[in-house]
Amino acid sequence: MKITEELVDYVSTLSRLRLPQEEKAKMAGELEQIVTYMDTLNTLDTDGVEPMSHTFPLKNVLRADEVVPSADREVLLSGAPDRDEETFRVPKAVE
């Protein structure tokens, strides 16, 4: 399958990445090579095969709904790149 620079732009936007112009053509070429190789799967007939996300049967795991302390706010905020007393700080998101 052909991977164009437009498609690289599209998936970059979805991924919140912004490749510099000079890297786009290279990335498009690399992705095309890999995706073309992934197309090998088309030579295998999978009609009627149920997709498998986990190899072992997973079931809902329930636990008693007990009240326990949550993590300490100061500890969680201590790793933030920017913060105030109580919250993470980011640029204004809503006008």
């Binding site: 970059s12 992934m38 640029p91």
Partner: protein
């Protein structure tokens, strides 16, 4: 002191319990080896020598009550496993100096067993790579030949164990990241059954494939580590409620009547003849101990790598969306608005291999391509699982190479991403099917190690380890040291 470094973890643990060696003495010996070898190898991102010595002193008082055979043994931890208050950054710029507010389940369990952590080990960024060259902190080098890579992504772990800078290490394996570096560095490593070790506190790459396991000098050491870390943990919803803790006691070396299958498709095109010969010689050793070995056809091999990379990248693109420069880690210094903050932080904070996999994963999940790639891969995964089920109706274990080649030179692999991905062909099947698989040293080519892989059925760790133990009773590849004179 050199002799101490050549002991296995269990031998050192026994010497500590017998009072022949103090924990501080063992720790200092490892720290000295680290100081001597680290400048040429770069195994560690964070060395915690002072904490380790303090811990060693504190542990000594409890040596008489020690329950684990690994009590007091110095070890180290891959940098994607959370250690409370100790920098854990997945070898990525984007995590900055992140110090987790909690311990991973395996970190807690190793601490309960009485292990001494020497620090955090280098790796490919977010465990994405086969060479440990994608680390933001520079590549790790192979102790057997410093012009070569140690493999990856647990390259720091494998190199540190091989370099005698620790007696064992905890790594993680998503598509071979324990086994392939173990093979390249001449150590023994096992990826256990998916769900048998808690992933709580393991920084996620591909959650349905990731599993934590040990790298050590011997199969018996690996059994002892798994005994300490396996078992149900309610904080990981995929954690299995199965008995754990008896692997070491079940190692007998008796493999008479064990049926071992060699998949013929694992010995074909692309495999270096020296590697093929060493793995076949491994089969002969196991046969001499009473196993029955036969070749059989395992036809889905050519679909393994594409299936793996579709699933792994899809999950990675989702898992890595949490790195946005807000809650922890690094943030780009300049930005205009919130979206710009995300984009600049991620674009400048991730390395090129990570970005390539995020883009691939986003592509295979995107509208219009989901069915053709992601859904298709999940269907092929179901067929792969069935193929393994059929193989294990006939055989107790499978024997294959770990990697088609021995360790490549630095810089050879990254120039061609697809070629690097293809070299994962023998290791990714066990992750796709969730099976236990072990790598053990089985020979040398030009002075660098070759590894053989044993794959077992789900929860078949005991058989896998017993076969490896039997092999190690009759061979000495696992005992050879890069600092011994006999190997060249």
């Amino acid at each position: 002191m050199k002799e101490l470094l050549e002991l296995s973890a269990l031998e050192l643990g026994a010497a500590i319990r017998a009072g022949d060696v103090s924990i501080a003495e063992a720790t200092q010996t490892a720290l000295d080896a680290m100081a001597e070898r680290e400048p040429s190898l770069n195994c560690f991102i964070t060395a915690a020598g002072e904490q380790a010595m303090a811990r060693a002193q504190a542990l000594q008082a409890g040596v008489k009550e020690a329950k684990s055979p690994l009590y007091g043994v110095p070890m180290a931890i891959k940098d994607n496993i959370c250690t409370k208050g100790v920098k854990t950054c997945c070898a990525s710029k984007i995590l900055g100096d992140f110090a987790p507010p909690y311990d991973a389940a395996v970190t807690e369990r190793m601490a309960e067993a009485g292990a001494v952590s020497l620090g955090k080990l280098n790796m490919d960024e977010f465990a994405m790579g086969s060479t440990t060259e994608t680390s933001f902190y520079g590549p790790t080098r192979n102790p057997w030949d410093t012009s070569r890579v140690p493999g990856g992504s647990s390259g720091g772990a494998a190199a540190a164990v091989a370099a005698r800078a620790c007696w064992f290490a905890l790594g993680s394996d998503t598509g071979g990241s324990i086994r392939q570096p173990a093979s390249f560095c001449g150590v023994t490593g096992i990826k256990p059954t998916y769900g048998s070790v808690s992933r709580y506190g393991l920084i996620a790459y591909a959650s349905s494939l990731d599993q934590i396991g040990p790298l050590a000098r011997t199969a018996a050491d690996c059994a002892a580590v798994l005994d300490a870390i396996q078992g149900r943990d309610r904080r990981d919803a995929t954690s299995l409620d199965v008995p754990a803790g008896s692997l070491l006691s079940r190692l007998t070396g008796d493999i008479r009547g064990m049926k071992i299958g060699l998949p013929s498709q694992c010995f074909g095109e692309g495999l270096e003849p020296q590697v093929a010969d060493a793995v076949k010689a491994t089969a002969a050793v196991l046969e001499a101990r009473g196993a029955r070995v036969e070749t059989f056809s395992f036809p889905l091999m050519k679909y393994m790598v594409p299936t793996y990379y579709i699933i792994a990248c899809a999950e990675a693109s989702s898992n890595l969306s949490r790195y946005d420069g807000v809650k922890y880690g690094w943030r780009a210094p300049e930005y205009e608005d919130l979206t710009d903050l995300y984009c600049r932080t991620r674009t400048e904070g991730f390395g090129s291999e990570v970005k390539r996999r995020i883009l691939l994963g986003t592509f295979v999940l995107s509208s219009g391509y989901y069915d053709a790639y992601y859904k298709k891969a999940l269907q092929v995964k179901a067929l792969i699982k069935e193929a393994f089920d059929r193989a294990f109706e006939q055989y107790d274990l499978l024997l294959t190479p770990v990697s088609p080649t021995t360790a490549p030179k630095l810089g050879e692999s990254l120039s061609e991403a697809l070629k690097m991905y293809l070299s994962d062909i023998y290791t990714v099947p066990a992750n796709l099917a969730g099976l236990p698989a072990l790598s053990m040293p089985c020979g040398f080519d030009g002075g660098v190690p070759i590894g053989a892989q044993l794959i077992g059925p789900a929860l078949g760790e005991a058989a896998v380890l017993n076969a490896a133990h039997a092999f190690q009773l009759d061979t000495d590849y696992h005992r050879r040291s890069p600092y011994g004179k006999e190997v060249k």
